[in-house]
Symmetry: C2
Subunit: 274 residues, 2 copies
């Protein structure tokens, strides 16, 4: 089954477009986990256990695990093992290097850790992305329009009559023989999200920027979904995983995730017929 079909299956099963970002910062963990042997892993394990039926995906931000060196890698690997097979796992790693180095990154994230998808930066061109496109079951999400303030510095440069991010999308779609390319497009950018969905009607979009970064859920749903109301993966990280820092953090995360799923599904009902 190719990646878009797997994603669709997961979104139907969970009735959810929500993705939880496990940006798990050791300094912010609840007191109750401090004495645990690997608190980063234990935190993730409980969050996943409490939410896997109501989300389509988990996004693991590699920065937060690398920051913990060897123990972080172990936490990352063990976390991944705890994600049920019907949820999509995404390594938010933003890698991209010359062919033989990208091949190493692809090998660790896709072949060894067996993430279902990885985020990549296409500045170095086709051979820097090709190693991530070997299996039709696994997706490379290419950065298009990001949700941060610095997005304006280069992504909106005008290349002829188009923006740079549009050129990247058009070029990348030519590499999409296996239908395993997706794009990252921030919820903070409604017009851009709409234009990307128009150019790539059946491509998975990973949409960060709701919650702590201020993007709107209405925007993410309305412009991010395909014409059936699927294939947008709407990510929230901090607002879910740090919903409480008490012993009830996993239940609080579940409650917050349910709230977001309902809001997402409200807008799906408004904009799409199922």
């Amino acid at each position: 089954m190719n990646f878009p079909a797997r994603l669709l299956q997961s979104q139907k099963k969970s009735n959810s477009l929500l993705c939880i970002g496990l940006d798990t910062d050791v300094a912010k963990l609840p007191e109750v986990l401090r004495s645990h042997e690997n608190p980063q892993y234990e935190f993730n394990r409980r969050i996943i256990e409490a939410t896997s039926d109501i989300v389509c995906a988990y996004k693991i931000n590699s920065a937060f695990y690398e920051a913990e060196a060897e123990r972080g890698w172990r936490a990352l690997r063990e976390t991944l093992r705890g994600i049920p097979p019907f949820n999509i796992s995404i390594a938010d790693a933003k890698r991209g290097d010359i062919g033989n180095s990208s091949e190493r990154y692809a090998r660790i994230f896709l072949n060894e850790l067996k993430f279902d998808a990885v985020t990549v930066n296409a500045y170095m061109g086709k051979d820097s992305i090709a190693p991530f496109l070997q299996s039709s079951e696994q997706c490379a999400f290419i950065l298009a329009v990001t949700s941060n303030p610095g997005a304006k510095d280069f992504q909106y440069l005008k290349v002829g009559r188009k923006f740079l991010y549009e050129k990247i999308i058009e070029t990348a779609l030519k590499w999409n023989a296996k239908k395993n390319i997706g794009f990252v497009a921030g919820a903070t950018k409604p017009n851009e999200l709409r234009s990307i969905r128009k150019k790539a009607p059946s491509t998975p979009l990973l949409i960060p920027g709701i919650g702590a970064q201020g993007g709107s859920i209405e925007t993410a749903v309305r412009f991010g979904c395909n014409n059936k109301g699927y294939l947008a993966i709407i990510n929230a990280s901090r607002s879910i995983i740090y919903a409480s820092n008490g012993g009830n953090f996993a239940e609080a995360a579940r409650a917050e995730a349910i709230k977001l799923r309902e809001e997402i599904n409200y807008w799906r009902g408004r904009f799409f017929k199922h």
Copy 2:
């Protein structure tokens, strides 16, 4: 002492612009190291011991260490400890993410591992690079023109009358209050290297692409150096570290490094007066 001054000191002390890229692939290690507890580290240790007096820098490609997971991180950390303080250490990591994630990457590579420099990808703009620019003693090398075939896909897009890579350089130079920005510019691109050096006359340039990738040393020296014949860091990886796969690999690496240093210095003598 700021980063360019530290680099200059290292290049004068070693009389060398050569940087050895430790792209240490476990599958390619000499037979004699196979039984070692951490062969990746042991390989690097011996290469560094054999070459530290004749190179200005070592570049550690994080892809090859991540590919080995926990053991790779340990090898990376121990390798770094073995690099003498007068050599510059560069993490070739090509990171770049939203502020709070880039901050984590900067913390691990610059504050904890204490690399002297790190390579970064500026597609996400100023706030994605700022965390790497906190200390004037440590440098962020921003990708400009890379040495791989895919460089042509986006780096040469025309933005008005300029190439995208030129826009990136001009914008990044405005972030350079602490004089700790450098650029990555491939030796396979003579004209581009010349144009970058003209725009950034006193900026360190990290120049990959000689050796296995086919760039010329004459080009790297002539167009990469500042007007005194310094501040180009000319990297070779595979051609040095895999010069022999016998028990004499470290001596063979030294011999190859001496050959490259001599060739580099021959062209420095031709093009620059000391």
